[in-house]
Amino acid sequence: MTDRSDLELVQLFQNGDESAFNHLVLRYQEKVYWVARRFMADHDNADDVTQEVFIKAYGSLNEFRRESSVYTWLYRITVNIALNSLRRQKIREAFRIDELFDAPDTESVAPDEAAEKQEERSLIENAIARLPEKQKSVFVLRYYEELPYEDIAKILKTSVGGLKANYFHAVKKIQEYVRRAHETY
């Protein structure tokens, strides 16, 4: 069944062949995971999102219409679930109000190179995390996933022109954040 196209697999599933779903999972699990990982920054949260994406996909696969491709459809679910999960995290942080006020952004640096590299990376992760949702989504899908704007537009249900502006501003904001962080040390 591995040589079937996505749409054929969907068709099979809709006709009652449960195992077609398994093939879709196997085909897309890595893509979904890595997108989730970009949003969530750590493995455990990315894992939660990945599982949730396929559970949601399973539940909605019967309503899948051929207007979009399976891959843009799955990416859309992934982005939505990841963003929701991030909002949930924010709410949890809000519940922990005392921690909210004195949470340090970055930890103290160990002076070896590996730690410095780690530091730089978490700085960028922080910068990405602070982007508005739209910019964050565009940045992940364009920079890391290298998707064409046409596909991103379908995933995020928006226009190509706006996406380019979003991408531009996202890059500038990340740069600005990193620059300021360096200035304060």
Binding site: Y33, G59, F168
Partner: protein, 214 residues
């Protein structure tokens, strides 16, 4: 002539992802536009900083465990053994709002009263449901020992929340399947939750207040 439109092509130009004829168009524009040249340098520097996409890979056998994990969870959902579930589902949203209201009312410092009205951050959204009433609901639900379930990590409920810091409406779900099953939300689809207008929200709050007069 310099335009925003050209500027927005620069990130793709820098990373070598701009195709012809746009690429040469931008290249020749760069020769005569100081503004874009400056921008190009900034972006080049930015991408250098951002660097590659080196993330630590997941644990060794991780990917082979996804499908079994998903299947297992799907099976769990099919089995009707979780007796408490319909109840939790039914109360999910009011419960969450109640709890949230409770937390907001008790933990968020209300801004000092400078002669003007000091507003609780929840009030604009939940104007249809008095805060005393919400407090009652929260306490009531806590008596039902549902509190921990409602803000628990996994199985929880829908959450309707006001972001405390931005002051904008903020809606989130905790367990999407529960949200979808919730008759309160009815025709409001999960995807729409992120783009609710004020009018939608009023409808939601109206339904909510009907339901919460327990």
């Amino acid at each position: 002539m310099h335009t925003r439109h050209i500027e927005y092509l620069l990130p793709d130009y820098v990373t070598g992802r701009l195709e012809e004829p746009l690429r040469s168009g931008v290249a020749s524009h760069l020769e005569e536009c100081a503004e874009c040249k400056g921008e190009l340098e900034t972006l080049r520097h930015a991408f250098q900083t951002i660097g590659g996409s080196d993330l630590k890979p997941p644990p060794g056998a991780y990917f082979s465990g996804i499908l079994p994990g998903v299947r297992e969870r799907l099976e769990q959902r099919k089995s009707p053994s979780v007796l408490a579930r319909p109840l939790i589902t039914r109360f999910a949203l009011p419960l969450a709002v109640g709890v949230l209201a409770f937390v907001l009312l008790t933990h968020i410092p209300v801004p000092a009263n400078n002669g003007e009205t000091a507003q609780n951050p929840l009030r604009p959204v939940l104007s249809g449901v008095g805060s005393e009433e919400l407090m009652e609901i929260a306490l009531d639900q806590m008596h039902r020992q549902a509190f921990s379930i409602s803000i628990g990590e996994n199985e929880s409920s829908a959450m309707l929340a006001v972001p405390i810091l931005s002051g904008k409406y903020f809606l989130t779900d905790v367990d999407s399947s529960v949200v979808w099953e919730d008759p309160l939300l009815g025709d409001i689809a999960m995807e729409d939750l992120e783009t609710l207008t004020d009018a939608d929200l009023e409808v939601l709050v109206a339904r909510l207040s009907e339901r919460t007069s327990l």
